[in-house]
Symmetry: C2
Amino acid sequence: MKTSHPPSDRTRVRRGAGNAVYEPALVRAIVDAAYLCHIAFSDAHGAHCIPTACWREGDYLYIHGSNGSRMLKQLMAQDACVTITHLDGLVLARSAFNHTMNYRSVMIYGRFEMVDEAEQRRSLDAFMEHLAPGRNAEVRGGNAKEHAATTVLRIALAEAACKVRSGGPLDDEEDMGIAAWVGELPFTHQRGAPVTDPACAVEAPAYVQQWASKG
Amino acid sequence: MKTSHPPSDRTRVRRGAGNAVYEPALVRAIVDAAYLCHIAFSDAHGAHCIPTACWREGDYLYIHGSNGSRMLKQLMAQDACVTITHLDGLVLARSAFNHTMNYRSVMIYGRFEMVDEAEQRRSLDAFMEHLAPGRNAEVRGGNAKEHAATTVLRIALAEAACKVRSGGPLDDEEDMGIAAWVGELPFTHQRGAPVTDPACAVEAPAYVQQWASKG
Ligand SMILES: Cc1cc2nc3c(=O)[nH]c(=O)nc-3n(C[C@H](O)[C@H](O)[C@H](O)COP(=O)(O)OP(=O)(O)OC[C@H]3O[C@@H](n4cnc5c(N)ncnc54)[C@H](O)[C@@H]3O)c2cc1C
Ligand SMILES: Cc1cc2nc3c(=O)[nH]c(=O)nc-3n(C[C@H](O)[C@H](O)[C@H](O)COP(=O)(O)OP(=O)(O)OC[C@H]3O[C@@H](n4cnc5c(N)ncnc54)[C@H](O)[C@@H]3O)c2cc1C
Ligand code: HEM
Ligand code: HEM
């Protein structure tokens, strides 16, 4: 993977630079923990921020949708910014000002490129495999018409920066005597019990049975 | 609240319009369930997508940060798009193509405005109250220097659209015989056990004790 060192003009974190990380391994880990990214691009109406499913293969982040999508068409014609954020907790400090959040975020800049049809099939299979290992063999795969209506784009994880915060609050020396509870209120990214479709009589495969415990 | 009906040129959902909702009450509910938004804006480097803490009061979404923030400065000078997304589940269908996700998302367009210092204090207090009811009385409030270094912006929840999907998969008639498990794999947005700071000897208040059960 092309390392993000040194950061580009676009990826050099200026505010809170102490929390910046430019490690390719962390970029990958933050992407892999996500099902979803937010993508910024512009058109005649101004800037847009669109939530979209995503997955990683190698050093690329992939997205997909309809050939007719405004977003996908724009993303082939201009640079974009893709952001993934995991909110890990609220950080409660002794002063209001020092309250903050724990998080892992990545911002990726660059131009998306369209993949050809063979790669589209392969990468959508990989997407499914990532979501539900083994499921490709159980469902009807995409047919020619469906694939012809679909666009898959990918962007290199090259021009990317992460910001990460963890741990408890950093209070000012003079506030240490304040008698407030301090610490972290964590968020967990958990899974609920699978909801079987009323019309389904098929036994739950391993990836469904293990869903709720994946945490 | 100024209703979003009829949608503007920017907020009319074109793709998957069946999932579009323009109800102010739903806009508010999606914002209230969030700690975090993603904001798209542009500068000489192109489009940016920045994750930021947010809260709602009345018919406005609020954000805050440093006077020196690139983002906050840009947001006073141009229209932006604020997006909040709650991912509720993976939807597993009988064909690969009909797989989808359940979600609640809102996209808000418009211009942020800066609030004055009195309103800044009031709204940051409201933010804290929203995070941890009663905590304002326990911590040191922001002092003059801290507030002077801080900017609070708000954007009207006026030009906004929601997209919502829930329930099981919608398969094609001809796929109904396929023997794959179908249904929803839900995500839950839960809280973990509070982590008390090692230097803290204060008993946990109600909002900390009840954190993990809030779900
Ligand atoms: C959960 C969460 C909550 C946050 N809440 C707030 C808040 O309430 N107020 C606030 O001011 N800031 C908040 N931040 C930080 C925010 O994301 C920005 O880092 C900050 O606002 C500075 O923005 P800027 O455009 O001025 O950044 P600059 O530092 O000028 O950005 C320069 C470059 O650094 C990189 N970069 C900046 N931010 C990030 C990031 N978060 N992740 C990865 N790369 C990044 C990008 O490449 C960006 O183009 C929050 C971040 C997270 C993850
Ligand atoms: C969790 C999640 C995953 C998604 N995954 C995908 C995916 O993999 N592929 C895909 O094509 N789409 C996906 N979507 C839908 C995506 O957010 C867009 O709605 C879609 O891509 C069409 O984008 P567009 O710019 O072409 O939309 P248009 O329909 O042209 O957008 C017009 C206007 O409709 C409103 N709008 C559009 N989308 C939303 C939204 N999500 N929430 C609120 N208002 C909206 C905005 O005001 C927007 O400017 C996903 C959405 C969510 C919430
Ligand atoms: C053969 C495989 C697949 C193909 C060809 C395909 C194709 C498409 C197309 C064309 C759209 C755009 C719909 C529109 O804008 O009108 C879309 C949307 C979407 N797809 Fe897929 N897809 C595939 C598999 C998957 C899988 C496995 C998932 C996993 C969850 C998924 C999740 C989504 C989501 C969330 C949307 C957005 C729907 C919305 O706006 O509500 N897709 N897909
Ligand atoms: C008196 C109240 C507060 C004031 C004056 C204030 C002020 C600020 C300022 C000036 C920044 C920008 C830091 C920088 O860019 O250098 C900031 C960042 C931030 N604030 Fe606040 N804040 C207050 C309360 C809170 C509260 C209650 C929270 C709740 C969690 C919070 C969460 C955050 C977060 C998450 C950031 C981003 C930090 C980062 O980039 O890692 N703030 N705040």
